[in-house]
Amino acid sequence: MTDFREKIYQNFIDDDRYMYLVKGLGNTLIITMFALLIGVVLGFLIAVVRTTYDRIGKLKLLNAVCKVYLTVIRGTPVMIQLLIIFYVVFGSARIDKLVVASLAFGLNSAAYVAEIIRSGIMSIDNGQMEAGRSLGMSYGMTMIYIIAPQAFKNILPALANEFIVLIKETSVSGYIGTMDLTRGGDIIRSTTYEAFLPLIAVALIYLALVMMLTAGVSRLERRLRSNERK
């Protein structure tokens, strides 16, 4: 028992080593948040381009660009994309690694979010679009006020799933030297030569994050279902 206490002291308290985890968690959250933002905004735009083309045949060129984007992003590992963006795209530029990581994960996530949002839009009966248009609302207005809110409710579980994946995927951002949560635990491990405690601590923090996110999404889902027959 004293041995265990000693180890905890050594790994987390001594030299304020827990700060590696605190800082790492902070950076993981920053990367995830910005990646999420980029992913949702860009994903939404791609989804709108794709469904607009499918439904009314407009935006042919943009649709082709989007399709290539989806194929490339979904066809290569996120880690390779991260390395390419860091070493090739921003190779000679001095740019904050957090920005590079946010951008890489955001661009990656956008491809998956786009397909999730597209499936959500497709799941809404065409009659809703016709009803909106027949009242004189434009395609865009009908999309925003009628289709999107209903689609969002349908895709929330899939979207939450994508966010969970995203949080955990950011753990490879250490490969470009970002001080994220995983990297923080790794630094402790390499100084104390103790693998068990730092890695378990890191794992528990990810687990807690995901559980909190899941709980939040469940609450949101319940609220959005208020219009269904009780």
Partner: protein
């Protein structure tokens, strides 16, 4: 507008889906205040014709003139034109994520034709008119089919349209709910609303319509006042059709 003014003029309207000719040159005029019932066997093109009138289907030939404007012209603002053409669907198509009142208020509000207060007042007025004022804050899923269709009619009326199109408004309803919707449509017709109704309700066509069209194979085969139409059908196909449905 004076009485007998032509509201919609249809010239040689054509619609092809791939190789299939659904509309083969439809010519007709709809005057202000008319209630035109359209009947015909399923697949005859009557719904396609109705949906062409507000361009939910894009015609592949011919023209539709609404209030003097050729709406098949590519430069015409379709959205603006549709504000004056109300439509009621077989499947109601209410917005399930909004309360009944919000359903009615949405278009006038978002199109900036009314402010929040005016749109609210208009919605209350219409809910009263369709006999469902107590449903204002409920969601569409809590209503019966007949109630949904009455709300859909109220929603279309909120835009103060010059004409109302009905695409088989009672076909998706349980038999006991057909009456309440037809009653409302009858009341609407009496108030002077111009209506074009695709229907299987021969009783409605006979009692309420001012003119009945029979469409088959993408053409108007016969059109007449309801009395003549049902008493002395001239077209062979119409006689056959009527003998089946009456």
């Amino acid at each position: 507008m004076s009485v007998n003014e032509v509201l919609i003029k249809v010239d040689d309207l054509q619609k092809k889906f791939g190789d299939l000719n659904v509309l083969n040159g439809i010519n007709t005029e709809i005057k202000k205040g008319e209630v035109v019932a359209i009947i015909g066997p399923s697949g005859c093109g009557k719904s396609t014709f109705l949906r062409s009138l507000n361009l939910l289907e894009n015609p592949t030939g011919g023209t539709i003139t609404f209030e003097g404007v050729d709406i098949t012209d590519k430069n015409v603002n379709v959205d603006q034109m549709r504000q004056k053409i109300g439509m009621v669907f077989q499947q109601f198509n209410l917005f399930p994520h909004m309360t009944i009142k919000k359903n009615i208020m949405l278009a006038p509000l978002k199109l900036k034709l009314m402010n929040e207060e005016e749109a609210g007042r208009r919605a209350d007025e219409l809910l009263e008119r369709v006999g469902l004022p107590d449903k204002a804050n409920e969601y569409p899923d809590m209503l019966s089919g007949g109630q949904k269709q009455r709300i859909a009619i109220a929603r279309a009326l909120a835009m103060n349209p010059d004409v109302m199109l009905f695409d088989e408004p009672t076909s998706a309803l349980d038999p006991e709910m057909v009456g309440e919707v037809l009653e409302l449509m009858k009341e609407l017709a009496k108030s002077g609303m111009t209506m074009v109704v695709v229907t299987h309700e021969m009783g409605f066509a006979r009692e309420v319509a001012t003119r009945v069209l029979f469409i088959d194979e993408g053409k108007i085969q016969e059109e007449n006042s309801p009395k003549e139409f049902f008493a002395n059908p001239k077209n062979e196909r119409l006689r056959e059709f009527l003998s089946k449905v009456l």
